[in-house]
């Protein structure tokens, strides 16, 4: 039956195309830390170009580990990680800076340079790319404006509130128009209004083509957006819903104690 063979071929071509379309691909990745703690366990997944993915799961589930693998902050103890066609594990050290310019991260602990002002912190992310110095100023201020911190441009991290530092970290991650944006708990220290402002921002960036992966514990944001949700627990993927909520079931077990 020649037709069956054709269907088979078409399917295989689709398969290949899908593989190519996948911006991020993890092949049975495990990360066990030297002290025996499990970061990730045999994770196999992919993320497409332009997707917006929530990473949820309890504290210590492996969300940060997942992101750190994509920027080569940690190397997997097993498996391969492909980001934008490059094998992160086998990459030469000299290629890492370029990976990190394409894959920007909003760090859970902000990781701001303490001796640089908010402005300089954001500008640094552009300077490393040897961007046109005339553009740096406008782009940095634009970015700070977007997170509502233009007025704090000249403050040092030590002079900023927790939420303000978090927003500087966000501004730094988005200033370079990255291919992939990893947002690790970007609204952990922000109030609801500001959080929604940041979500709008991330959505806008996502619309412009940037793939966004966001780790969060914020139920209402995840439930309000209805995007793909990957749930981790103990380093394993326990759920992967195309249009999911924070929890599989609606009941969120809010027991008022005392």
């Amino acid at each position: 039956m020649p037709r069956a063979i054709e269907v088979y071929q078409v399917n295989s071509i689709f398969q290949e195309l899908r593989e190519v379309m996948m911006l991020i691909r993890l092949y049975s990745v495990s990360k066990v830390y030297p002290n025996g703690a499990v970061g990730l366990l045999n994770v196999d997944t992919y993320i497409r170009q332009g997707e917006f993915v929530f990473l949820v799961g309890p504290s210590g589930a492996g969300k940060t580990t997942f992101m750190n693998l994509l920027t080569r902050q940690v190397l997997p103890t097993q498996g391969q990680v492909i980001v934008d066609g490059r094998n992160v594990v086998r990459m030469r050290p000299s290629e890492v800076p370029y990976l990190r310019r394409a894959v920007r991260m909003i760090f859970q602990d902000y990781k701001l340079l303490p001796n640089k002002t908010a402005y300089e912190n954001v500008a640094f992310a552009l300077r490393v790319t040897e961007a046109n110095p005339r553009q740096v100023r406008t782009r940095v201020m634009e970015s700070l404006e977007l997170v509502g911190l233009a007025c704090k441009a000249r403050a040092y991290p030590g002079e900023l509130s927790g939420g303000e530092q978090q927003r500087v970290s966000i501004a730094r991650a988005i200033v370079g128009d990255p291919t992939i944006l990893l947002a690790d708990e970007p609204t952990g220290n922000l109030d609801l209004d500001t959080s929604w402002g940041i979500m709008e921002l991330l959505l806008r960036i996502n619309k412009r083509g940037t793939t966004v992966i966001m780790a969060t514990h914020n139920r209402s944001i995840v439930n309000g957006m209805m995007r793909r949700v990957i749930e981790l627990d103990g380093g394993k993927i326990v759920r992967d819903d195309e249009r999911g909520a924070y929890r599989r079931e609606a009941g969120h077990g809010m027991v008022l104690p005392g």
């Binding site: 902050q73 800076p97 990781k111 340079l113 640094f124």
Partner: protein, 292 residues
């Protein structure tokens, strides 16, 4: 590399060279180079004295009695032609007696007892290389018409041994000090780098290449090295001039280096050393903290 980036490196290096931590390293560099420079000055002066002393080592060649002036001239020519001889001066028997009288001091009276001058005519021979004195003296003693030679045998040997020892000891001590200074300055800069290890880590996470991180450290190291060396150079120069004035006042017979050139050369060497150490330390030590 873009010009803007180069400018950024210079500005960054300069900015962070003005920080607290860096000022401490600056002080350490200045103090270390000062100590090193002081040692160098001392060794330079010892060497100066040693050279002057060596230059004073002479061979006296006594001539047989009753030589004709032509014979004396012939001997002079032969001595002059001897390998290793730098200068030959004729010392007549009268001149020799006057000098002996001076040497004997209070005992000079015994010379009056001697009716006639018992000394022969002689040549004072200065050698090119003090170490070869004995060899040259032996050759000269073999020239016909030469009665014998005298070069203060025991004393010269002792002096030369002492000189050689001072030279070796000076070199060893200087090498030790240079090693210690390089070690100390390196350590200090390493500490400042460690205190900024977290900063370096963050820079790497934001996509900075190793060189992008290293250049400002290099500039900073060079600025610190230069300024530190300049400070120590100025202190040394001023201190040395004071010391020279003090010494020439107290013991004018001690020959110290008063010419400004060697001291200036030392200061330049210190500057170069400071910049080099700063650059190496800034460039090398940062490398260890780049593996993130």
């Amino acid at each position: 590399m873009r010009l803007a980036t180069v400018w950024y490196f210079l500005a960054e290096g300069w900015r962070s060279a003005r920080r607290n931590v860096s000022l401490i390293s600056l002080g350490t560099i200045a103090a270390s180079l000062f100590v090193l420079g002081a040692l160098a000055l001392i060794l330079m002066n010892l060497n100066h004295v040693s050279q002057l002393l060596q230059a004073r080592i002479e061979i006296r060649a006594f001539l047989e009695d009753g030589l004709l002036p032509e014979g004396v001239a012939a001997i002079r020519a032969q001595i002059q032609a001897t390998d290793g001889v730098a200068q030959v001066t004729f010392v007549s028997k009268d001149e020799g007696l006057r000098r002996l009288r001076g040497q004997l001091g209070e005992h000079a009276g015994i010379l009056d007892v001697v009716g006639e001058n018992p000394l022969p005519d002689a040549f004072d021979v200065r050698v090119e290389d003090a170490d070869r004195t004995a060899q040259v003296a032996a050759r000269i003693s073999r020239i016909p018409g030469v009665l014998g030679v005298n070069y203060g045998q025991g004393f010269t040997e002792k002096l030369l041994a002492t000189m050689r020892l001072v030279g070796v000891a000076g070199a060893v001590v200087a090498a030790l000090f240079v090693a210690a200074v390089v070690f100390i300055v390196g350590n200090t800069i390493r500490l400042t780098v460690i205190s900024r290890a977290r900063e370096i880590e963050v820079m790497k996470l934001v996509g900075a290449t190793d060189w992008f991180i290293r250049w400002p450290f290099l500039v900073e190291g060079m600025v610190l090295g230069l300024v530190g060396a300049a400070i120590s150079g100025l202190l040394l120069f001023a201190g040395y001039n004071l010391a020279v004035r003090y010494i020439t006042g107290l013991a004018p017979f001690i020959p110290v280096i008063t010419a400004p050139e060697p001291v200036a050369a030392l200061c330049v060497a210190l500057l170069l050393m400071g910049v080099l150490m700063g650059a190496v330390a800034g460039g090398v030590f940062v490398k260890r903290y780049l593996r993130v």
